[in-house]
C-alpha cells in the first residue's frame, strides 16, 4: 500500500459502498416491479472496478459488459442518471433507450456497456489506437468476464493491442461462473492471466476482493500504457454473490455452486477487506466507515426518488438518436 493516498483510499470505500447500496436497492425495486428487464448485480465484485478505475483519469476510456452498473459508478458516473436509465426515464444516461446493460457517459470516458459478451473487446484497442495516432497519452480499459475470455473477439483484441503496442488494459473480472458454468469447465489454462503470454504482454493475477491490490496493479498497467509499452492483461479473481441476472432466481444455487462456497467468499467481502485495512492503519475509524455507508445509502435513495420522478420519453422521441446526420425515415 505504499504510495496510495488517503484520498484514493477513502474515495474507493465511498464508491464501493455506493455500488453496494445501488445494487441492493436495484434488487429491491426490481422485485417490487418498478422496472422490468434483465439486470446483473455486481455485489461482491465492487473492489475490481473501483480499484481499477481509481487508477484512471476522466480522459481515459473504459468499456464494459452486461454486469454493467459497477463500472460507470466506479469511474465517477452519476448515480441519478444511472438509476433513471434503469427506470427507462428521460433523465437516464441514454434517455431510457439503453437500460441496465447499456449505461454510458461519454463526457467522462465511459464508452458504454455492451450486452453481447466480449463485444466491447475490440472497442478498447480502437480507442487506444486513436491515442497512438494522435500522440495523446490516454489509455483505454475494457472489463470482461471469465466467459468472455473464451470469445474470439477477446483474443483478436489482445492480439491487435499487443501487435500495435497500444495502451490498453484488459481487465478480466473472473467471477468464476459464466451464468452457471464454472471457468474450470470452460477455460483451458489454470489462470486466465496465463493467456497474456500468448500475446507477449504482462499477465497479472490479482486478488479481486482487495481494492488496494486492484488499484496498484492497474496503476502499473496504466503507467506502462502511457509510457508506450503496450497492453496488460489483469485477471481479478472475484466472486458473484447473486445469481447471473435478476429474474433468474429459479436457477438454484446448489445446482452449480454450494452455499458453503458462497459463504466462504462472503467472509472476504471486498468492503470488509478495505475497511479493515483503513481502520487498522488508522486512516479511518469504523464510525467514519459507517458514516460513509450511510451517506451512500442516502445518495442511492435520492437517486431512486429522482428516477421515479423523471418522466418517460414521449412517443415522438422514438426515432431520435438514430443518426448523427439525420435521414428521412423509410
Amino acid at each position: 500500500m505504499e504510495n496510495v493516498s488517503k484520498e484514493i483510499l477513502v474515495q474507493m470505500l465511498e464508491r464501493m459502498w455506493l455500488i453496494r447500496h445501488f445494487e441492493v436497492r436495484v434488487m429491491e425495486v426490481h422485485s417490487a416491479g418498478e422496472f422490468t428487464g434483465a439486470a446483473h448485480p455486481y455485489i461482491g465484485e465492487e473492489a475490481v472496478a473501483v480499484g481499477a478505475c481509481a487508477a484512471l483519469k476522466d480522459t481515459d476510456y473504459i468499456a464494459g459488459n452486461h454486469r454493467s452498473h459497477g463500472h460507470p459508478l466506479a469511474k465517477g458516473g452519476s448515480v441519478k442518471r444511472a438509476m433513471a436509465e434503469l427506470y427507462g426515464r428521460v433523465d437516464g444516461y441514454c434517455k431510457g433507450k439503453g437500460g441496465s446493460m447499456h449505461l454510458a457517459d461519454f463526457s467522462i470516458g465511459i464508452l458504454g456497456e455492451s450486452g453481447i459478451v466480449a463485444s466491447s473487446g475490440p472497442v478498447a484497442p480502437g480507442a487506444a489506437l486513436a491515442a497512438k495516432c494522435r500522440g495523446e497519452d490516454f489509455v483505454s480499459m475494457v472489463f470482461f468476464g471469465d466467459g468472455a475470455s473464451n470469445q474470439g473477439a477477446c483474443h483478436e483484441s489482445m492480439n491487435l493491442a499487443a501487435l500495435w503496442q497500444l495502451p490498453v488494459i484488459f481487465l478480466c473480472e473472473n467471477n468464476q461462473f459464466a451464468v452457471t458454468t464454472s471457468y474450470h469447465d470452460s477455460v483451458s489454462v489454470e489462470h486466465i492471466s496465463d493467456r497474456a503470454a500468448a500475446y507477449d504482454m504482462p499477465g497479472v493475477l490479482v486478488d479481486g476482493q482487495d481494492a488496494v491490490a486492484m488499484y496498484e496493479a492497474t496503476r502499473e498497467a496504466v503507467a506502462r500504457g502511457r509510457a508506450g509499452e503496450g497492453p496488460t492483461l489483469i485477471e481479478a479473481l472475484t466472486y458473484r454473490y447473486e445469481e447471473h441476472s435478476l429474474g433468474l432466481g429459479r436457477v438454484r444455487r446448489g445446482e452449480y455452486r454450494t452455499q458453503d462456497q458462497i459463504d466462504e467468499w462472503r467472509e472476504r467481502d471486498p468492503i470488509d477487506v478495505l475497511e479493515r485495512t483503513l481502520t487498522s492503519q488508522g486512516i479511518l475509524t469504523q464510525e467514519e466507515c459507517d458514516a460513509i455507508s450511510k451517506a451512500k445509502e442516502a445518495e442511492v435513495e435520492e437517486a431512486v426518488e429522482f428516477a421515479r420522478n423523471s418522466p418517460y420519453p414521449e412517443p415522438e422521441e422514438l426515432f431520435d438518436d438514430m443518426w448523427a446526420d439525420p435521414i428521412p425515415a423509410p
Binding site: 468499456a63 454510458a104 446526420d325
Partner: protein
C-alpha cells in the same frame, strides 16, 4: 476539374482527397499497403504507416477497433470484401449499428466500411456475396451502391465526411468501368438522391449497382422495339430516394427492379413494396423483380451465369409489363 478514371481509381482518388483534407481520416484493412485490390495504391507512401494500417486476418477485431477509434474522434475507413463481413457481424450489428441509439445519442461513429462485391467471375459461394439487403434490414447503416466511377468517388467522399456508420458496397464487376470524375468538393455526391441515367416514358427500371449497365443495355435494345425505358439508379439504398422512383412510376405506370442480390427480402423487394403501397394507383401492370435466383453461387460458369440479372432478363421483364 473533370478527368477520366476507372471505378477503382475513382475510389482511390476519394480516399486520397479525404485523407489530405482531414488528418483524422485513416484506413485499415488486409494487405492495403500493397494495394492488393487496387483502391489503396500509393497511400502508404503519401500518408505513412500510422494512417495506413495493414491488419491481421481478424475482421471482428479490426472492424471493432474502427468503432472504438471513431468513438473518440477518428474517421476510420475499413477495407474489406463482402464475404468477410460475416466474420465481423457482431461488431457491425451489435456495436456499429446500435451504439448511437442505445446510448441515447452519446456515441458518434463516423466509420466507413468499404466492402467489395466480387461476383460473376467464378468465385463460388464463399466469395460472391451481395449482402446489402441484410444491412438494409438492420437500422443504423447508411448504404452506398455506386454504379459509376463518379458515384463511387462522390458517395465515398460523402460517406467519409458523414458522421454515421456507412457501408460502401463497391461492385467488383464494375471495377474496370470508366467514366468522368470531378475533383475536390465538386466530386461530392449527396446521399438519398437517385440518378436518372436514361429518361423514358413507358417503363421504369430501377437498377442497383452492377445491374445499372445491364438496364442501360436493355433500354437501348428495347428502343429498337419502340419501347421507351427510364432507368433509375438509387445510388444509396439507405437513405432511399423513393420520391424519384414514385415520380417515375407515376409517369410510366410500369416498374421493373433489377438487383444483383438474392431476390428474397432484397432491395428489389423493398422497392416493390414501397411502390405497391404508395404508387399502387399509378401502376398499370404487376411489378417485376429481376434479382439473383435464391440459390448459392455455383462455381462453374455455365451455372453461375444463370443466377444473376442480365440485360436479357431485364428486357423480358420489361416486355412482360407491357403485355395485355
Amino acid at each position: 476539374m473533370a478527368s477520366n478514371a476507372i471505378y477503382v481509381e475513382a475510389i482511390n482518388q476519394a480516399i486520397i482527397e479525404e485523407m489530405e483534407r482531414d488528418q483524422s481520416v485513416f484506413i485499415m484493412g488486409e494487405d492495403i499497403r500493397r494495394s492488393v485490390y487496387g483502391a489503396t495504391a500509393g497511400l502508404l507512401d503519401q500518408f505513412g504507416e500510422n494512417r495506413v494500417l495493414d491488419t491481421p486476418l481478424s475482421e471482428n477485431g479490426f472492424f471493432g477497433a474502427a468503432i472504438g477509434a471513431s468513438l473518440v474522434g477518428m474517421r476510420p475507413i475499413v477495407e474489406t470484401l463482402t464475404s468477410f463481413m460475416w466474420v465481423a457481424m457482431d461488431q457491425l450489428v451489435s456495436q456499429a449499428a446500435k451504439m448511437r441509439y442505445m446510448f441515447g445519442g452519446q456515441a458518434t461513429l463516423p466509420v466507413v466500411y468499404r466492402a467489395t462485391m466480387f461476383y460473376g467471375g467464378g468465385s463460388a459461394a464463399h466469395h460472391s456475396d451481395r449482402s446489402y439487403p441484410m444491412f438494409m434490414n438492420m437500422p443504423g447503416f447508411k448504404i452506398l451502391v455506386p454504379a459509376t466511377p463518379r458515384d463511387a468517388k462522390g458517395l465515398l467522399k460523402t460517406a467519409i465526411r458523414d458522421n454515421d456508420p456507412c457501408i460502401a458496397f463497391e461492385d467488383g464487376t464494375l471495377g474496370g468501368a470508366s467514366g468522368e470524375v470531378e475533383e475536390g468538393d465538386a466530386a461530392l455526391v449527396p446521399f438519398g438522391v437517385a440518378d436518372v441515367p436514361r429518361s423514358g416514358t413507358d417503363v421504369t427500371v430501377v437498377a442497383i449497382a452492377g445491374a445499372v449497365p445491364m438496364a442501360l443495355r436493355s433500354a437501348e435494345e428495347l428502343e429498337d422495339e419502340g419501347v421507351s425505358v427510364e432507368v433509375i439508379d438509387p445510388r444509396t439504398l439507405v437513405p432511399l430516394d423513393k420520391d424519384a422512383i414514385l415520380e417515375s412510376v407515376a409517369k410510366t405506370g410500369r416498374l421493373v427492379v433489377a438487383d444483383p442480390a438474392h431476390k428474397v427480402c432484397s432491395a428489389a423487394s423493398e422497392i416493390a413494396s414501397i411502390v405497391s403501397q404508395e404508387g399502387f394507383w399509378d401502376l398499370q401492370a404487376p411489378i417485376m423483380k429481376v434479382a439473383a435466383e435464391q440459390v448459392h453461387i455455383p462455381y462453374t460458369p455455365v451455372l453461375e451465369r444463370l443466377v444473376y440479372p442480365s440485360s436479357e432478363k431485364i428486357s423480358d421483364a420489361v416486355r412482360a409489363t407491357l403485355e395485355d
